[in-house]
Symmetry: C2
Amino acid sequence: MEYTVQKLGLLAGVSTRTLRYYDEIGLLKPARISSSGYRIYGQQEVDRLQQILFYRELGVSLEEIKDLVTSPAFDADRALHEHRAQLLEKRAQLDLLIANVELTLAQREGTKTMSDKQKFEGFKQKLIDDNENKYGTEVRAKYGDEKVSKSNAKVKNMTEQQYAEVEKLAAQVHEALAAAFATGDPAGELAQKAADLHRQWLIYWWDQYSKEAHAGIARMYVDDERFTAYYDKDQPGVAAFLRDAVLIYTGMGDA
Amino acid sequence: MEYTVQKLGLLAGVSTRTLRYYDEIGLLKPARISSSGYRIYGQQEVDRLQQILFYRELGVSLEEIKDLVTSPAFDADRALHEHRAQLLEKRAQLDLLIANVELTLAQREGTKTMSDKQKFEGFKQKLIDDNENKYGTEVRAKYGDEKVSKSNAKVKNMTEQQYAEVEKLAAQVHEALAAAFATGDPAGELAQKAADLHRQWLIYWWDQYSKEAHAGIARMYVDDERFTAYYDKDQPGVAAFLRDAVLIYTGMGDA
DNA sequence: TGTTGACATTCACGTTGCGTCAAGGTGTAC
DNA sequence: GTACACCTTGACGCAACGTGAATGTCAACA
């Protein structure tokens, strides 16, 4: 059986342009060219196209597919393993994105209903919130969807008072932190007070408090540059200081 | 505070080229241009860049971001919801890809160790196997990783005899199916025999048999065009016929 | 004051995997 | 013979920049 571009295209479910392109880059050349210049494909080409499309479905680049199908000695195993790793990483990123978008939506909804109710106005969703988003994202990734979902629900149901409370707490954390940072002692009274305020603040976002999670968050503050930047914006080193204070506060310093 | 391209770039973690590009497409214009033609950005631009990067991290296209940040009345909610749906779909596709790659790897490994052991040679991993791959992928997506993982393990541990048996069964399924299809009656004896052979064949891939899963697979044969194409390659309608036969066989026809 | 080196600028092409015209030749059916 | 579906080869367009090339500017140092 012989096929022209369109017939092969219909058979395999690809456009004629795609076949021309594959010819152009040397990925799939027709069996022969007719006297009038038409591309004629045979059974071998059909089989090969099947292979190509199979790898393409796996998301392998055409360049790599070329290696895979042209040189039989090519290390397809290693290529596939690498490709798998890439896909997994991609998915992890995608998961973060999704969690992020969801949290954003939840927050937006929260602010919207609030303003609808005229309970208060001008609730600012700015840089600090962006950071909360990312923070929520990380949490979701590390501690599971459920916890964050509950956090979202909490945000939605917050009252004006609670919002004010949260902002006040956040400000207090900052204040205490700044004072404590000046002492340089994360085990000191001021630092421990900051850590406690931080715990109180956290409770507004989570339904349950655990020392482990609190310590985890604190570690993240240093690992994640977005957070570090946020907490260090006044003075460099504050993020690490808060982490140390919280680790001491939670008694998880050794873990 | 005023920033040149590089300073802003360092601050925000983007390249100078990116800033130039954002200027070019009108996404982020500098606050002013210095007498010597330098782009000068101010605090507003920093804030705006933060927003832009936030949405960019969400995977929103620059074009959409432009709408988001330029018109305050823009329906960001709807945009985000749509974006979320896109992301979810993307992740579902990615999951399929990953499962597919993994199954391919498992099969390759299976064939490799087999041939290493010289147990047999020339085990063909061809079109039919490709179809099995995809089939495995769907299964993984619908019935969870565990089941397919066990299936993979099974493949790995198959002996030459078992492979032969699987191929024989597959052939028998086809044969019985062809004969049954001629009768036109999916409830008939021949069709039910084909369904039973299909069940036996399935058992080689799964560690547990369930009517539900069997029926699910059968339905998939028709929903998924790749499968339909495979089963219908001799005669159109065979896939649907097998589905009907299996649904009757499993007694899941009504579900 | 001149020069060096790090910055800035504007083109402009390259990337991936095709979609989408445009302008023209070919095959076949009526 | 002529209509119409099919084929061909260019060649531009897409997203979001990377990467030169050629050239101008600023601050600092000998």
